[in-house]
Amino acid sequence: MAKSFRGGVHPDDRKRYTASKEIQVAPVPEKVIIPVRQHIGAPCSPIVAVGDLVKKGQVIAEAQAFVSSPIHASTSGKVVAIAEYPHPVFGTCMAIVIESDGQDEWLEGLPLSRDWKNIEASEIKEIIRQSGMVGMGGATFPTHIKMAPPKEKTIHTFILNGAECEPFLTADHRVMLEQSERIVTGMQIAMKVLGVNKGYIGIEDNKPDAIAAMNKACSGISSLEVVPLQTKYPQGAEKTLISVICGTDVPSGGLPMDVGVVVQNVGTVVAIADAVEKGIPLIERVTTVTGGAVAEPKNILFRIGTTFAAAVELCGGFAKQPMKVIMGGPMMGMAQRTLDVPIIKGTSGILALSEADVNIGPERPCIRCGRCVEACPMGLVPSMLSILAERGAYAVAKENYDLLDCVECGSCVYVCPAKRNIVHYIKLSKAQNAAMAAKK
C-alpha cells in the first residue's frame, strides 16, 4: 500500500507524452543568456566583462553573501553583452550573454576524476557551494545552505524527492531511469556531508519503472530505501513528503531541518555527484518540454541559458496556439510573457498549454462548496483566504486564517467550481502583509 497524506487532488498527470522518451542532449546553442540570479538569495555580480573569452565551467558571476550561489559559463565563447534580459522568475534580470565559439571547451583541468569517498565532508560542502548548486525542482534554494544546518539541529534522515507530482513533468522520472547509479552516488555524498545514515527515495506509484530502477540501484546498500507513494498532488511538496515518509509533520512556520530531515531533488543529487566526482559545476539540466501546444514533447538535457524559443524549436515548434507558456509544472510553475527567457537552474519544465489545457473561466463568487477545504494539504480554509483578500483584510487572513502556512500548491484553485484565483489572492495577501511589516 503506497503511503499518502490528507487532502490533495488528482489531476490527469499527462506524463504519457514524454514518460517513455529518453533524455535527448540538446546541441550547444549559438548564444546563451545566463542571468546573474538563478536562485533564492542575493544576486551575483558579473566578474567578466564584455569582450572577455570564457571557457565552459568558468565562474562568470559570484556574490559574497551567504545565501547566494555562483554562476558559471555553460559553454565556451565570447561575452557579447551584460545587460537586462527577460527572466523567467524575476521579470527582467541582469544577464551575461555568451556567444558560443563552437568549441565547447572546458575550463583548464576539467573534468576531474576523483573518488568522493576520499574527500572530507567539509571539503565536499565547499565544492557544492562553488559549483553553484541550487534546488533544481524549481525552488532554487542554494544547496550548500541546506547541507549545512545549524549545529543545534540534528539531521537524521535524508529524503530524495522523486515524487514528481506535477502533471506533465517527466525529467526526474527519466533521470531516475537513466542515471539511477549517479543518483545513488549523489545521495551517498549528500548523506556523508550531513552525517546521516538513513536515506529514503520517495517515488509516486505512477512510475513503477522508476521504483524498480531505483530499487535495483539501491540493492545491497542498507542505508537507502525506496518508498512508493500514492499518486496524488502535491505528494512531492516538501512538507507532505516528510509527513508521509517519516510520519511527522513539519511544525507550522518551521523547516524540514526542525524535524531532522533534509530533502533534495533528483536533479540536484546528480549534479552533486557530478560536481564532487568530476568537478563539473551546474551548467546543464534535464528539462521536460511539453504541453498540448507543443508538436513533439521531449525530455532534453539543456545548457543553462538556452532560450525557451530554442527549446520549443527543438521539439518541432508549436502544433497549436499556446495560451500560456509555463516554466515548471502546471500547478506551481510561472507563466511567461515571452519565449526569450532562458532556461535557468530551476527550469524543470517548459510547458506550452493550449486553451483546452488551461480550462480557465470567468471568476465567480465563492459558493462555499468546501472542495478547497477538502483539497488543502495544509488544513486551511482557502475560500476564506480568497474572500478576505478581496475585502483587503490581509491582516485577518494572517492572524485568524493561517495565511502564512499556505504552500501555494494550487490544489484549491484546481478543484474550485467558481474558478477563483485563490493562489493569486494568497500571494497578494502575503505580499501586503510583508509590506505592512516592513512599514512598522
Binding site: K239, P330, A335, P362, C369, M378
Partner: protein, 327 residues
Amino acid sequence: MSTETKIEIEQLMVSASPHIRCDESISKIMWSVNAALAPAALFSVYNFGMPAFFNILLCVLACVATEYLILKWQDKPMVVNDGSAFLTGLLLAMNIPATLPWYMPLAGSVFAIGIAKHTMGGIGFNIFNPALIGRAFILASWPIAMTTWPISSDMIGKVDALTTATPLGILKQQGYQSLIEHFGDHATMYKSLLLGTRPGSMGETSALLLILGGIYLIYKGYVKWQMPVLMIGTVGILTAAFGGDPFLHMMSGGLILGAFYMATDMVTIPITLKGQIIFAIGAGALTVLIRLQGGYPEGVCYAILLMNCVTPLIDRLVKPRKYGTGR
C-alpha cells in the same frame, strides 16, 4: 519563431499558478441538482395533476426572470443560465401545495430571488436558502392556502373531497391512531410514504425518487452522504426516543427533500465537514422539536433556516486541523 506556424507569442496569458483547472463549474453543479430533482418533480405532476405542472413552471420562470432583471439592472455578469435561479424555482415549487393560486408562487419566487438572494449580494452571499425563504414568505402571508392540501393520486375516486390533510397534519390534529386508520394499516402507510402517493407539498411526497436523486448527487460528489444520513437519522432516533413512530417521521413531511436538497445547499451550510455534521444533527433535532412540541405539524423548513443562522458561527468555531499542529 518560425513564421509559417502562425503562432502569436504576443498573446501569451500571464496569471498566477495553477495553470490547469478541473472540469467542475457552478453551472455543472446546479444543473446536476436540477436533474436529480427532475424525477420527483415529474412525479408530482402525476400525483397532483396539471396544477402541479403549472406551478412548477411558474416558480421556475418567475425565479429566472427575477434573477435576469436584477442582474441586468445591477449591471452584473449575466449568469442567469447557471442553473441556480432555476434550482431555487424548482425547490420552491416542490415545497408548496400544488393548488396555490398563481400569485402566491409568483410572490414567493420574487421574494426568494429578489430579497433572500440578491439583497445579500447574489449567488454565494445569501445567508438563508432562498427557496426556503420563499416558502416561509408564502406561509406567513397566506397560511390557510399553504396548509390546504389537494388530494393525491391514491385518493382520486376514493374520497369525496378536493382537499385533505398531510400525514403529519393528521398526526398533529387527530393522533397516531386515526392516521393509521386513515391509511388502513401500517404497511399501506409506509408504502404510500415511500412511493409518494400521499398529500403534501408538490415535490416532497416521493421518498423513493428523492432518495434516488440524492444518491446520484452523492455519487457526483456534490452532496456528502453524512448530511442526509445524519439529519434523517437524528429525526428517527429522537422521534423514537420521544415515543413517536420513527419511520413515519423519517419519510414524511419535507424531511427527505430538505435533508438531501436544502440542508446540502453549499452556500448556506458550514464549509467544513465537521461543521456540516453539526448542522445536520442540529437541523434534525430542531425538526423533531418543532414537529413534536411546536404548533406546526412540520418543521424542516424552519429547522434548516434556523441552522442557516448559525452557519457563520459554526464556521468561525470549527476549522480543519491545520498541518503541523498534531495529528
